[in-house]
Structures are given as C-alpha cells and as structure tokens.
C-alpha cells in the first residue's frame, strides 16, 4: 500500500504541473489551460454562430446545422488528427501540440455551444423581440441588450455541461502525446509499470473532483433559473 502511495507522491509534481519550472506546463495545469483556452474560444464563436443562425433562418442556418451535424458525426480524435496535419500545411510553421489540440477542442465545442445558445434564444417569448423592435432597437441591439443576456442566463446549466465534457475531452491529447494529465499518467505508468491501479485511480479522482464541482455549479444555476 505504501509503495502504491509512493508512486503518486514521487511523481506528484510531475502529475500536477509537469515541467512548469522549465516553461513547459504539463499534468493538471496543462489540462486546465487547454480546457480554459478552448472554452474561451468556443463560447464567443458559438454565441456568434447562434446569433447568425437565429437571424438568418434560411440557407445560413441550414449550412450551420450541417456543419454542426458533421462535426458531431465524427469522433473527436479525427478532428484532432485533421488539425494536426492540416494546420502546419496551412500555416507553414509548426504549432505546439497543446495549441493544436486546444483549437480542435474549441472547434468541436463551438458547435455544441451554438445549438445550446440558439435553443435559449428560441425559447424566449417572442414578445421580447417585438417589444424591442417597437422601441426602435435594431436587430443587433435587440440581440445584445435584450435577448442574449436572458438567453445566456437560461442556458447556463447546459453551457456548464458542455464545459464538463470539454474538460474530460482534454484527455484525448493522450492519443497525440501532449503531456496533459492523462498522458503524464500514462508516461509514469510505462516507467514504473507496477502500480497502475493507484495511478489511474488517482487521476480519475482529480477529474472527478473537477467535473463534479462544475456539475454542482450547474445544478445551482438550474435551481435559480426555475
């Protein structure tokens, strides 16, 4: 049992922040950085797309839905693979692996954010928009001042659900060997090889604590919304 614990305590700093001192964050720190970065990209993009789909009902909305449908239809690993190969071709240089995975996660997540926010916009009583129009609000003003603030508050629980999924999805960086929590645990496991149980339970606990606290937050928002 002590040896089981030792495998964690010996590697604790590596699991928590990787080689942060040398300027290469890893472990839990990199997991959080990637999740936050992807969320910071995906939420604004998703909200803008939702507004576009709300405003332009015809072809634009169908195109956006098709785009979201395709993204939803393929495994996230493939989105990561595509960006992994296409981004260097398009930019000519090579991006750090963590950035590529973050962009892939953001791209993937923005489709979910779009659907969620659009549902929130459509759920508002139509009187809200009509009243704004009679008061001389332009469409974008009505969206910005009247509709979005209400819709975003209502879809907060579902956005937090998307964030939880995003946090868990950072583990896919394991497949392309970007040193976030799952990858470093795999590395330690390959090196030590005798205590996989303790190691994987430990990182599962970390993910569990992060995700379930977001879940608690979502439930609190849900109660307020009712």
């Amino acid at each position: 049992m002590n040896a089981n614990l030792a495998v964690i305590t010996d590697n604790l700093d590596y699991l928590l922040w990787g080689r942060l001192a040398q300027g290469e964050p890893g472990g839990v720190v990199l997991t959080l950085l990637m999740a936050l970065g992807a969320a910071a990209l995906a939420i604004p993009v998703g909200v803008v797309l939702a507004c576009a789909a709300w405003r332009y009902r015809g072809g634009v909305r169908r195109l956006l839905f098709l785009w979201a449908e395709i993204i939803r239809g393929i495994p996230l690993i493939f989105v990561i693979f595509w960006l992994w190969y296409l981004l260097p071709m398009m930019t000519g240089g090579s991006l750090p692996g963590a950035v590529t995975v973050t962009l892939a996660l953001a791209w993937f997540t923005s489709a979910a954010v779009m659907h969620s926010v659009l549902a929130g916009l459509q759920a508002l009583p139509s009187g809200q928009y009509e009243a704004a129009q009679t008061q001389g609000f332009s469409e974008s003003q009505a969206l910005w001042f009247i509709l979005l603030p209400q819709a975003l508050r209502n879809v907060m629980p579902s956005l937090l659900g998307i964030l939880i999924a995003l946090l868990k999805d950072t583990s896919l960086a394991f497949i392309v060997n970007v040193p976030e929590l799952t990858t470093v645990a795999g590395q330690v496991n390959n090196r030590v090889q005798i205590y996989p149980m303790a190691l994987f339970i430990f990182i599962a606990v970390i993910y569990y604590l992060l995700c379930s606290s977001l879940g608690l937050l979502a439930r609190r928002f849900q109660r307020q919304a009712v």
Binding site: I70, R72, G73, I74, P75, L76, I77, F78, F81, W82, Y85, L86, M89, F108, A112, S116, P157, S158, L160, G161, I162, I164, A165, K168, D169, T170, S171, L172, F174, I175, T182, A185, G186, N189, P196, M197, L199, F200, I201, I203, A204, Y207, Y208, C211, S212, G215, A218, R219, F221, Q222
Partner: protein, 258 residues
C-alpha cells in the same frame, strides 16, 4: 498543395487494415451496446427494488462514470483492473481457441477487445440509466400504483410497465447515446485495440498517406453513424407516439463525451 493518392490507401495491405479495423469497430460497438443495455436494465432494477442501498449504488455508478473521461476509464480497465482477474482465467483467454474469432476475422477473446467492450458499456450505461429514468418519470404514477396493487413484482413492474413506455419516451436520447458509443470506440485505439482508428494511424506510419487514411476513416464513421441512426429510429419502439409529452430533458447535464 494538397494532392491525394487514393491508391496508397484503397489497395493491398492498407485496404486490408481498414477493412479489418472497420469490422472490429462494428463488432466491439455491437457487443458494447448489448452489454450496455444489460447493465442498464440491471441498474434500473436495482434502483427500483434495491432500497436505499440500491439507489446509492446506482447513483455512485452513474456519477463515477459520467464525471471521469472515458479514456481514463479504458486505461484503468486495461492496465489495472485486468490484472486483478485470476491468472488462470487470463491465460485461458489469451490462449488460442476455436471460438475466439468472430465472423470477419475479429478476435474477441483478447484483453483489448474485452476491456474495450466492457469499458464502453460501463460508460454508456451511466448515461442510459439517466436517460431512461427520465423517460420512466413520464409514466403516470397511477400505472405504477395499479401494477403494485395487482401484485406485480418490481421486476415485472419494470419489465412490463415502466421500461416499454420509458423507452418510447426516451428513445431519441437513447439512440444518441448508442451512436456515441460507436464513435467513442475510436478511443480504444488508446489501449492498442486494433479498431478502425488504430488501423488508420497504422497506415500513416506505413506509407505516410495520413490524410487519405483520415478521410477514409472520417467517411466510414459518418456513414456508419447515419445508417445506424436511421435503423434505430425505424425500430418499432421509435414509431410509437408517446401517450403524452415527456419531460425527458436532461438539460444542464448533456455530458456527452465525444
């Protein structure tokens, strides 16, 4: 800039890899779905009939598998839990026998296949339990009371009253979860399971036709999802109209892993 050479993927060894990987993906998804269904039924019964301890167990199961990444779960089953099985059992699974090959030359008696199917099933069951419970909540309480007063056992209540109606109410999210299982089987490449994603990456290191291989893989997953979705929404259960509008929305927790 982008030139595609499909010959490097759709012939010879790479084509064989893709076909074998695709069949493996289909098999592990099918077996995973069946297992997930069995686990879900078991846990729904436990939630209904198991009293406080039963409900606590189910809640723990659901919470554990929903709040940790599937990839970590697969690594756990493969690297840690597998070694807890008795040595004799593991040896006999690894030994070659006649019944260990499924049609299409897919080996199912291997640690990779079993851990993948089990891991996918356990993960998916945690989502199915919640979706179907939400569907069953739409069944009017009077029906449950009537059944109990007629002397129905918990098992009969679930089997004849709650599950048939709950499934109709919750069919759409259930289909979503099953499609998700098929897509998520791609994560099993992380434990070295030779399904489609694994084989596609193998082509990349074999003849560097990465983009063509990814394109083929992407199309195969998309098409399989579409066909499977069409099939599942054409089943009899999907065509029955719910008696009333279900409040099956699990809004706030759409924690679908992708």
């Amino acid at each position: 800039m982008l030139t595609f050479d499909w010959q490097g993927v759709l012939s010879g060894q790479p084509l064989q890899w893709i076909l074998s990987g695709y069949l493996t993906t289909l098999w592990v998804s099918a077996i995973g779905m069946v297992l997930a269904g069995l686990l879900t039924g078991l846990f729904l019964l436990l939630r209904l009939a198991g009293g406080r301890i039963g409900r606590g167990l189910v809640a723990t199961w659901v919470s554990l598998f929903r709040n940790t990444p599937l990839l970590v779960q697969l690594l756990f089953w493969y690297f840690a839990a597998w070694n807890l099985l008795p040595q004799g059992l593991r040896d006999s699974i690894n030994a070659p026998h006649s019944g260990s090959v499924l049609p299409g030359d897919v080996w199912w008696l291997s640690p990779e296949f079993l851990c993948s199917a089990w891991g996918l099933a356990a993960f998916t069951s945690a989502f199915l339990i919640e979706e179907i419970t939400a569907g069953m909540r739409a069944v009017s309480p009077g029906q449950v009371e009537a059944a109990l007063s007629q002397g129905f056992s918990h098992q009969a209540l679930l089997r004849h009253i709650l599950l048939p109606q709950g499934l109709i109410y919750a069919w759409q999210p259930v289909v979503g979860q099953l499609l998700n299982l098929m897509k998520l089987s791609s994560l099993a490449s992380g434990i070295g399971f030779a399904e489609l994603t694994y084989q596609v990456r193998q082509i990349e290191s074999y003849n560097a036709h990465a983009l063509e291989a990814f394109a083929v893989g992407t199309v195969l997953y998309l098409l399989t999802g579409m066909v499977l979705g069409l099939l599942l929404t054409r089943l009899p259960v999907a065509r029955q109209k719910p008696a009333r509008q279900a409040r099956t929305s699990t809004q706030g927790e759409p924690q679908h892993e992708r």
